[in-house]
Amino acid sequence: MKKHFYTLLILCLSISAIPLHAQQVPVVETNLSNGMRVLMLPRKDEPMISGGWVAHVGSANERPGITGIAHLFEHMMFKGTPTIGTTDYERDLKIIAEQERVRELMRDEEKEMRAMYRRGEIDDVQKPENFTPRYRELEKQFAELIKEQREVLVKNEFDKIYTANGGSGMNAFTSSDMTAYFITVPANKLELWMWMEAERLLRPVFREFYAERDVVFEERRMRTESTPLGKFAESFESIFWESHPYQWPVIGWPSDIPAITKAQADEFYATFYAPQNITLILVGDFDPQQAIQYAEAYFGRIPRGKKDAPDVVTLEVKQIAEKRMYAEAEANPQVDIMWHTVPFGHKDSYTLRVLAQILSTRTGRLYKGLVLGPQIATSTWSHPDHRKWAGLFNIGGEAKESFTPQEVEEAIYEEMEKLKSEEVPPEELQKVKNNFAASEYRKLSSNMSILMQLVFYDGLGNWREINEAGAKIQAVTAADVKRVAKEYFTKENRAVAVYTRKKGASEKEPAPTKTSETTSN
């Protein structure tokens, strides 16, 4: 169910089954005068360059009231610059200022509507029927300003320029720990990439800010609210994390998304998009000498931020009792378990990754122990999630017809107990390590795949892991596995979500016997 993120192998493995050779990824690292990091990997496979940059900011850097701002900000980074996206910048600025004035008045009304909601006078602050008359009036004024702005707007011009120049796969993502932007351009368009990315970092203009909040709301409906498990997964994570900012969703709480102001976005930008908080990454067909010159000229002119981004100081408190959530969902009965573990780069994180592999895949212990043997589950998953500030380990399984999620849960604990009491046999450990070793090669197959690994590693705190994690994984011993199994997989350290099927009008599940009766005729 979950995708695992592997690394590239470095050293020569002197193992009986798969002797692989050294495979360092020769990344060139340099720093610009303003503190921006640049990572480069020239590759001649195709006449293209995959370029990206990662800002070391995610939802973990937010606070209650502005949850979702990191992600909303990511959307705003596609709206243009003083020269991209408008035919008349001065008028555009005036309209944006006027829009802000109206929005400020609307926020006063929103405050009043929240008060009405608390008094029980309205049932939902976001329903148009519940808006105050003043708010509706202001809404109309705002709509007029949007119309006026359209006269000078050049829609999605940022995208259009890339598109007309052969750019492909332009996208961005936001996680709890990082925000990244990336694209692939033809090999002769290196300077275009530099121009475009530096320009939007240097002077972004947040046009259409309020329409974009609506887009994000639709994204929230699509991913979280209208999928069978989306809202439960969100709830489960917020139950799991007690003190840590990981407790709120990347997309933000529904009340916060519409309350975020442009002024807050401006402040957020000044704090977290300073050059010393950003890493540029290029993989593909280019000359690194020239790339450094361009980078210094284009990105080097961005002034270093006055202050460094603040650290996330809140540590997750130690969990003291098991947590359980029982949910009825439009899904097959299943169980999902999370244990608190360690963040990225922690010495135990490598062992936990090996442990996850011992449990997963068709020859792994969960599949053998739950799906093949006693046949109580139809699928299982195990996934280590080592984030920047804290980590977790997730295991789950879908119950086979006539079995309960609790039976699946018990079987998972039985497998974990075996790992705590007996060391993994050498052959089994070797099989897992062989797969880590081979995946080092497989992950080198394309520019974009290498770029994304560098994005993740750098975003989590150390790009060198692309070359160093492999050795650390190969060094994991059976004793290490037994030790971490005992240390982290305890009852008081876990949260458990038990899902049973919600009976709806559409489900008229035939008893399994009935199915066989009708078909055996």
Binding site: I18, V154, F173, E218, E330, K431, K508, E509
Partner: protein
Amino acid sequence: MKRSILSFFTVVSAILIGFNCNETHAQRQQVKTNTASTSAKPKAVGEAAAKGVTSGRKAERKTSATDKIPDRPEKLTFPPFQYDPPNPSAYRVQLKSGPVAYIVTNRELPLINISILVRTGEYLQPDGKEGLASLTGYLLARGGTKSQTAEELEERLAFLAAQLSSGIGETQGSVSLNLLSKDLDEGFAILREVLTAPRFQDDKIALFKSQTMQSIRQRNDESSSIEGRERGFLAFGETFWANRYTTAASLESITKADMQQFHQRWFYPSNFIIAASGDFDSEKMRVKLEELFTNWPFEGETSSDIPTNTAFAKPGIYIVNKDVNQGRVAIMLPGIHRDDPDYFPAVIMNDILGGGGFTSHIMNRVRSDEGLAYSAGSSLPGGVYYPLTFTASFQSKSSTVPYAISIVLDEVDKMTKQPPTKEELHVSKRSFIDRFPRAFATKAQVAGTFAQDEFTGRYAKDPLFWDKYRDRLDAVTREDVQRVAKRFLQSDKYAILIVGEKDEILKGHPNHTVKLEELTGGKITELPLRDPFTMKPLGR
């Protein structure tokens, strides 16, 4: 549990060039490519104006390099870019044992990738045995072989870190192996057994049937699954072969003998096309492949033609009621065959209208202007065997579904009323032409693309397809685009599918007067959910 990583927009399909080998499957996917937009060139604004930027930083204007940076990217000059696509005939080998192979060497990594494409598919399943293709396909690699049980084979593959997979889809079967080059001989011995002597182990049949039942139970859980399925029914007709789904009864009736028979009928060397790429000497690989397919232990059949008797739905609005707060909409029209002479103009027309992501008309209006949807766009994939559909799709909160549909219909209509601007046409063409090399970005893609062309008959019919690709696109005129818009975007033929909360959608939004009944003549049909076990409409 899903990991929370949000992207700027969703790329549902990884199709790079708007069309490729998997066109039959593309029907049920949204296709994202690239595009164009209308606009006058913005007035240049210099550094002075930048001072007023509320959210930007003031640039330091000290270094000489900085002074050379122009205010608009058009002022940059780029080195020339020359690219010639690989030539299929340079890699094509007709093996004496039957198959055609494309052999592409790549010494960068110690890995080998072999894919065997097979002329078979779901369309060959006997009535009442729906699911047979899927079961047979999956169990070839997962059900053991003559000399190894499924468990032994899985353990061995895992120890070698080799990836063996197999499957049979609508119109194609495949067996693929990715492994370290040092293990090639053992890998080929396994491949030979998988292809000629699969075990179809009983417990693995039972397991896969029970896993299939699990997914059958989920058929009404996601509104997106309901949408995908009903799209197919509206586009091709209730009785079309691609709309025959595995039922609890058909699954139960499938036996090991059915699988053995299905396998032996189609898994025969003259039904194979091979794509091989990676760390090998191409002549040595040719010899090995020749050996792999020689002395086949059984005689197969040549498959019949793929039936093309599709039937597009009667015009109207079709709603499936589902308790979710966001409605999913698919606006469909009869589509195009990829060999149609209008194919290239149609690709560009769709790109400008809704295929091209952020600069397409639909995305601009529905998402950027109105904030009504996160993903919005259109697709017009060329069918390989029969015409597919034009589909404009988006997801919006229940109350704004009617308004968003009206906007999309408006944009579709505009495409027929006027040709695109010169700039729109230019941007669209450049986007396809300049990212063309990505179609052959890796050696595995080179072998894979050519093998698919061989499989679908494109190579036989149009051997210089990729050579001429850019010129053909470049030849499209504004008039061509409007002409094909008129041909394909006929407003009296819309079949509009909505999956969502019916009452809320019908109610509409207080700020927008549009009502669903007023769109497309107002014929609204409620489609019942289907019984997941029989796929028959519920409540009838």
